[in-house]
């Protein structure tokens, strides 16, 4: 079953890796084919496992501020910034579809 162009465009919007060329598509097809082997296993009545630590209570700490005030450090690694803002190009502009 081949991946349709619609699904591919949808995937690209989610993944944003610019991998809709023939190589990317071939990789994806092979990955799906490989994953299909999962369906050989009978999992009736089996609960999905999120974590091997599912029997334990997750640690929750007190809702107190213990660190912060590191704006300067955090901005250090950004390429484009203005005062204390990270600057992004305009948003809400959809990616072109594969055929375009």
């Amino acid at each position: 079953q081949k991946v349709s162009v619609e699904v591919l465009d949808h995937l690209e919007r989610l993944a944003l890796v610019d991998f809709r060329d023939s190589e990317g598509v071939e990789r994806l097809q092979k990955a799906i084919q490989f994953a299909d082997q999962l369906h050989e296993v009978n999992t009736d009545g089996v609960e999905p496992m999120d974590s091997v630590l599912e029997d334990r209570c997750l640690y929750l700490r007190e809702d107190d501020v213990t660190e912060g005030n590191c704006t300067k450090d955090l901005l250090e690694n950004a390429r484009e910034k203005v005062e204390e803002y990270f600057v992004a190009p305009p948003g809400n502009i959809p990616l072109p579809n594969l055929e375009e």
């Binding site: 991946v3 699904v7 949808h10 995937l11 690209e12 919007r13 989610l14 993944a15 944003l16 890796v17 610019d18 991998f19 190589e23 990317g24 990789r27 994806l28 092979k30 990955a31 799906i32 490989f34 994953a35 082997q37 999962l38 369906h39 050989e40 296993v41 999992t43 089996v46 609960e47 999905p48 496992m49 999120d50 974590s51 091997v52 630590l53 334990r56 997750l58 640690y59 929750l60 700490r61 590191c70 450090d73 955090l74 250090e76 690694n77 950004a78 390429r79 484009e80 990270f86 600057v87 992004a88 190009p89 305009p90 948003g91 809400n92 502009i93 959809p94 990616l95």
Partner: protein, 526 residues
């Protein structure tokens, strides 16, 4: 013979008694790193800061106040752990030039105990791979390629073709760390293990590779691949050293809520003499397709070793073993799709010049920053997470995961203490041969024996066992019960003592460090 010493028995004592100073030790390691540069084990060598740390350590020894057994001991860290002030790249263009503002918890713990951080080691890009061949800084070469043991057994086709084309891979993805420990440039190194990435290169490089129980060691600051399977890994030259490192790293971290809250008590490994109360399980499914007859023979020999020493050795079954790779493929790509979303060029890392729109900038940044392996996994992961595929693939894989984990529960419930399996399908392949198959195929092949332990979150260790016919290391793996690292390492130490794995005879090292190697001795300690 300082550089090939174990931590507990020799180096720490030597430092304490002043036989060698931390700065001398640090300088020797730095010099050795320079002379073994062709291995490409290190991405960044933090010479200045390492020497500074060594000086501070020396001052503490002078005052008679060392911080502990790791004070002044040179270590290396895989380049997917955040290190403050030192570049962290994950061997990717996406993070080239990225200087982290903080230390990963495990790094901080080592520094707090006075360890000297020599540098960051090479890996497959974002830890995706089983060869340490797919990073942007090039592949890591296995030090054993240059060993007397390997050279003696290899027949060069022509004079010019010998070393340059014959070198073998380290395995991966923590190949740089394994090579660093194996070539004596550091006493221990941190790796990471998601599908076998610490144990695989450990086996190929003839060093000890420990994968701790999931939840024992903090992942805070380890750039994540698969949040539900990743663990920091420990690479050392002997099992005792691995226990020391474990002792200094394990324990609850409030910054990583997936670390368990149980009290962890560091332990010293007893010298086991009586194995008659031990039950060793041999999972028959680990006689996997492609397993070399050489390794099968070693595996059987090891089983006999235990049997002859009085242990109970039984064949067991882990029926879902063969699905672990497929299951991993789906869960890994799904978690990767999520984890890699943070790399968008805005806050850190590479940023593309494309400015038309946020999304086109993100897409271009990620195309430029990630290699094909990473991009491919992100795309596949997103596919498996689509609404129409979620149940069919992602949830299905989670169900299979439970079946795999349950297989182990059943076996341990039946009275088996430790499982004994091979770590890899064969000894290390020559690089030219390895790259003939693509990354996914190789990973699928090479992870088969190690992956299930990550699925189930169990502790596992690869111990160097013997040399192959080609003169290359082969390791065997022990898998233990959750949080029973003491038992696991005790058995591993006993085994290490029995097999007396030979020390690597590196001619380059010998040439450079003449006078330091007074005699060759085996790498095991009694």
């Amino acid at each position: 013979a300082v550089l090939n010493d174990g931590l507990r028995s020799q180096v720490s004592a030597a430092l304490k008694e002043g036989q060698i100073t931390p700065t001398e030790l640090c300088q020797r390691c730095l010099a050795l790193i320079k002379s073994t540069k062709f291995l490409n084990a290190y991405i960044t060598v933090a010479e200045e800061s390492a020497l500074k740390q060594a000086e501070e350590s020396e001052e503490r020894y002078r005052r008679g106040q060392p911080l502990g057994i790791l004070d002044g001991v040179p270590i290396a860290v895989k380049d997917n752990f955040n290190t403050a002030g030192i570049e962290t790249t994950c061997a990717s263009n996406m993070l080239k030039g990225y200087i982290s503002p903080y230390n990963a918890t495990v790094v901080q713990k080592l520094l707090d105990q006075g360890a000297v951080l020599l540098g960051k080691t090479n890996l497959d890009e974002f830890a995706m791979g089983s060869g340490s061949t797919d990073g942007v800084f090039g592949p890591v070469r296995n030090p054993w390629s240059y060993s007397k043991q390997y050279k003696e057994k290899s027949v060069p086709k022509s004079h010019s073709e010998d070393e340059e084309s014959n070198w073998v891979i380290t395995g991966g993805s923590s190949g740089g760390s394994a090579a660093a420990v194996s070539s004596f440039t550091c006493f221990a190194a941190l790796g990471s293990d998601t599908g076998g990435s610490t144990r695989n290169p450990a086996a190929h490089c003839g060093v000890v590779g420990l994968k701790p129980t999931y939840g024992l060691i903090s992942r805070h600051g380890l750039i994540p691949l698969v949040n539900s399977m990743d663990v920091p890994g420990i690479l050392t030259r002997c099992v005792d050293d691995a226990a020391i490192l474990l002792g200094s790293l394990a324990g609850h971290d409030p910054k990583d809520s997936t670390t368990v809250q149980d009290d962890f008590k560091p332990f010293e490994l007893p010298n086991l003499t009586d194995v008659s109360k031990l039950s060793i399980g041999i999972p028959k499914e680990y006689n996997a397709p492609g397993l070399s007859s050489e390794i099968v023979a070693l595996w059987l020999k090891a089983a006999d070793l235990f049997k002859n020493a009085g242990a109970k050795v039984v064949e067991v079954s882990l029926p879902h073993t063969r699905y672990s790779i497929v299951c991993y493929h789906v869960l890994c790509t799904a978690e990767v799709a999520s984890n890699m979303a943070r790399f968008d060029g805005l806050e850190y890392g590479h940023r593309s010049d494309k400015k038309d729109s946020t999304e086109s900038m993100y897409a271009a940044t990620r195309r430029e920053g990630f290699n094909d392996v990473v991009r491919g996994r992100i795309l596949s992961g997103n596919y498996f997470l689509l609404k129409q595929n979620y149940e069919k693939y992602f949830v299905k894989a989670q169900k299979v995961r439970r079946l795999i984990a349950n297989d182990f529960v059943e076996v341990f419930r039946s009275g088996v203490d430790i499982l004994l399996t091979p770590t890899t399908l064969s000894d290390a392949a020559p690089y030219t041969e390895f790259i003939q198959e693509d990354n996914r195929t190789r990973s699928a092949q090479d992870d088969v024996l190690t992956q299930a332990a990550n699925m189930a979150g169990l502790p596992a260790i690869s111990v160097p066992t013997a040399l192959s016919e080609k003169g290359l290391p082969v390791g065997l793996q022990f898998i233990g019960r959750s949080f029973q690292e003491k038992q696991l390492l005790t058995v591993a130490k006993w085994f290490e003592k029995q097999v007396q794995f030979p020390m690597i005879q590196l001619e380059e090292v010998k040439r450079h460090d003449s006078g330091v190697f007074q005699h060759q001795k085996s790498a095991s300690f009694s």
